[in-house]
């Protein structure tokens, strides 16, 4: 049975609203009996619709899932009424560790420590506790060390739709840094 696109849009909103949490496109596709590419097109169009000024919510993509949330601009008025969830205070240590996990995942504790030059047991435990990172597997090596990766909560907390959206600092970027560092040095030397 083919449903009209508008009815599908309604169904998507109904599902995402009721579920509250992020719903994988695979599950949406199964429940709505629409293939994923078509569904994705409909959802993308829906995302634009939510952009309208009279809407207070938006539809966000988190990797292969979709979720509804309020628009940032209503934060002030919302905080008058709603108890906004407590924000974890992320110290520099936690942020450094988290950024290494985000960019290098899956990664073991040993690898993180090699980059930071310090033990990271405590930071890793805290990040796991905050559900920003989680065990994603085991490395096939002696001791089968835990591999860590970021979670869906990480995507939500940092407003990242997918890992490709992280600020670009790929290893190629090191070269840029080198250049930049060089220039900085030169400028400083000149002054």
């Amino acid at each position: 049975m083919e449903e009209s696109v508008t009815r599908l849009e309604g169904a998507i909103e109904a599902i995402l609203f009721s579920m509250g949490e992020a719903v994988p496109i695979k599950e949406l596709s199964k429940a709505l009996e629409v293939d994923e590419p078509t569904l994705e097109k409909i959802i993308n169009n829906l995302i634009d619709k939510y952009d309208a000024e009279d809407r207070g919510i938006k539809l966000v993509k988190l990797e292969d899932s979709y979720q509804l949330c309020t628009k940032n601009e209503y934060y002030d008025v919302l905080s008058k009424l709603v108890n906004m969830p407590k924000k974890h205070v992320l110290t520099d240590t936690l942020m450094e560790t988290l950024s290494i996990v985000a960019y290098k995942q899956p990664i073991t504790r040993q690898e993180i420590e090699a980059i930071r030059g310090v033990s990271c047991v405590h930071a890793i435990n805290k990040l796991v506790e905050y559900n920003l990172i989680a065990e994603v597997g085991r490395l096939d090596a002696i001791g089968r060390p835990i591999l860590f990766g970021t979670t869906e909560d990480f995507l939500r907390s940092f407003g990242v739709q997918s890992m490709d959206e992280l600020p670009v600092i790929s290893p190629d970027k090191i070269e840029d840094f080198r250049q930049q560092a060089m220039e900085e040095v030169n400028i400083k030397v000149e002054t």
Partner: protein, 250 residues
């Protein structure tokens, strides 16, 4: 648990952070670090650190060792004719750059977080009618390809195991309930009972069961709890009462 301070020795996240700080402070070129200068300054910092945690200290000392070893290598005369030797500093530079990159990324992420936390996600609100829906399960699906022959084989195996396990004579005596007491359970029980309390007499813990096994398990549980730091134990003299203090706060 008391939060341990982060690896903030003064304000440094670690040896690499301290090195980056020194490089920037001195306006050194990261690709041409004057290794003697930086080593001297680094050692000076480390010497002034009031750090009791040896683990943290050792990380800074490892880097000190690395710096000294690089410095030593730099002093060795170069062999001109040999193909270009690698700069002894290059590995350190690579690590510093990598570290700097993630540090930079962490600032970017922090900025993103400031914006992202302004969105509010709602908790599920699934209508009761939907939630109470009962799934229709088709038994045939569950059975799948399993055949009666297989079921029979399983049955025979189960029965064989039972025969192996049951002593034909003793089994006629009826069952004697064996109360299994396991140490983990006992530990949990004790922790719950004495949480936040001080000066508990070991004897009072034995009130729930006086069998020899129960006493032994309780005693072992107490030892284990002491080992993992949930309780402290005092005993005034040999055969004196064992007094237990819970170290967990309510």
């Amino acid at each position: 648990m008391i939060e341990k301070p982060e690896y903030k020795i003064n304000e440094f996240e670690g040896p690499l952070d301290l090195l980056l700080h020194l490089i920037e402070k001195n306006k050194f070129n990261i690709f041409d670090i004057p290794i003697a200068d930086i080593t001297e300054q680094y050692l000076d910092y480390v010497a002034r650190m009031q750090e009791e945690n040896l683990d943290i200290m050792s990380e800074f000392l490892v880097m000190a060792g690395t710096l000294l070893s690089i410095k030593a290598k730099m002093l060795l005369p170069k062999h001109e004719e040999e193909e270009e030797e690698e700069d002894p500093r290059s590995e350190l530079v690579r690590r510093l750059l990598e570290y700097k990159m993630y540090k930079y990324a962490s600032y970017e992420l922090k900025d993103m977080e400031l914006d992202a936390y302004k969105s509010y996600y709602k908790s599920p609100s699934i209508p009761d009618e939907v939630r109470n829906f009962k799934e229709v399960i088709d038994p045939a699906d569950i059975i799948g390809d399993t055949t009666l022959a297989q079921l029979n084989a399983i049955f025979n195996e189960v029965m064989k195991r039972t025969v192996d396990r049951v002593d034909p004579i003793r089994s006629k005596f009826g069952t004697i309930e064996k109360e299994e007491i396991n140490i983990e359970d006992k530990m949990d029980e004790i922790r719950c009972t004495i949480r936040g309390l001080k000066g508990i007499n070991f004897r009072t813990l034995l009130e729930t069961g006086r069998s020899k096994q129960s006493i032994i398990v309780t005693f072992l549980a107490i030892l284990e709890l002491m080992k993992v730091g949930h309780i402290a134990i005092k005993q005034d003299g040999l055969f004196g009462d064992i007094i237990i203090d819970s170290l967990e706060v309510d």
